[in-house]
């Protein structure tokens, strides 16, 4: 995967497959510690202890069509390459929390990528799911929630192309506001 937004796309698909109807993604930075934190929390079916213990192994998957699953191992490896880590907490019937960190200034840290495209497309494909995205740089924060957007829209579907474009632009501007100058790849 070329950037963090693609990993997010991949990991959020897991939450969707686990029948979540609310998925909260948080992207935050701690400049003093020089760390970028990302978490994905869902209310899906969760994993058993046994499955959780092995989930980082690429030869573990809940799929029955094939015996490999590379999403989580790839995400973990990308974090570890940049002195970060990946951890997963999960409880059957309650949901799963995936937390990832990267050392911001590390030469191998992946760029954030197009977070807006990831989210606008997830909304397009799964409008029935509540997506929340929180962005925080330690002093300012912005969040966007698809249920609030749908409330504003009333009977107009959130998948309306102009709405999707608005979501895309809103997130792009928010990322600039919050992480411009904080992460080198994002110009303020």
């Amino acid at each position: 995967m070329r950037d963090i937004s693609l990993h997010l796309m991949d990991i959020i698909q897991n939450s969707i497959t686990a029948n979540s109807n609310r998925i909260v993604t948080t992207i935050s930075t701690d400049n003093e510690k020089d760390f970028l934190y990302i978490s994905i929390k869902d209310n899906g079916k969760g994993m058993s202890k046994e499955f959780l213990e092995n989930v980082i192994d690429p030869f573990t998957t809940s799929r029955t069509t094939r015996k490999v699953g590379l999403g989580i191992p790839l995400f973990k490896e990308s974090a570890e390459r940049a002195e970060g880590f990946l951890s997963i907490e999960s409880e059957l019937g309650k949901g799963t929390l995936v937390s990832v960190s990267y050392k911001i200034s590390h030469i191998d840290r992946l760029p954030l990528g197009d977070i807006a495209q990831t989210f606008s497309q997830l909304v397009m494909a799964s409008p029935e799911i509540e997506f929340e995205l929180k962005m925080n740089n330690g002093s300012d924060s912005i969040q966007i929630n698809t249920v609030e957007i749908q409330d504003t829209l009333g009977e107009v579907p959130i998948t309306n192309f102009e709405v999707i474009e608005w979501i895309n632009n809103y997130i792009t501007e928010s990322i600039k506001c919050i992480f411009g100058g904080v992460l080198d790849e994002i110009l303020s």
Partner: protein, 122 residues
């Protein structure tokens, strides 16, 4: 900065347009968005479909995602299901190929044969 007021304006405009998007009586465009598809570039492909449909003001198609279609080496893959149920599988997609599929398949109803799985040179 974008605001919710703009969203309300989009709502007003959409309500004036008589045909709100119907989701079940048109073409279904389904993009494979598993680890393999994403790594191969499926997201920009899906983005191009949404942009092309918006640009041409087409309301007879919806775009969604699915998991691994099963032929990872041919990703990014896109399935187009016509209103009559006929399924076409496009392989090794790139954003540049999207316009042709939208114009010839979604608008004119003729699948673009050269991009289909039957034409893949392995």
């Amino acid at each position: 900065m974008k605001s919710l007021a703009e969203l309300a304006a989009i709502r007003e405009k959409a309500l004036k347009e008589i045909s709100l998007r119907q989701s079940n009586d048109g073409y279904k465009i389904i993009v494979g968005m598993a680890t393999c598809g994403i790594a191969a570039g499926a997201r920009p492909v899906m983005n191009s479909f949404v942009e092309e449909l918006k640009k041409r003001n087409l309301t007879n198609a919806t775009v969604s995602m699915t998991g691994c279609v099963g032929v990872c080496r041919l990703e990014p893959m896109v399935e187009v299901i016509a209103p009559d149920g006929e399924k076409t599988t496009y392989v090794k997609m790139s954003p540049e190929m999207v316009e042709k599929i939208v114009v010839e398949h979604i608008v004119n109803g003729k699948p673009v044969k050269e991009y289909t799985i039957g034409n893949a040179d392995n």
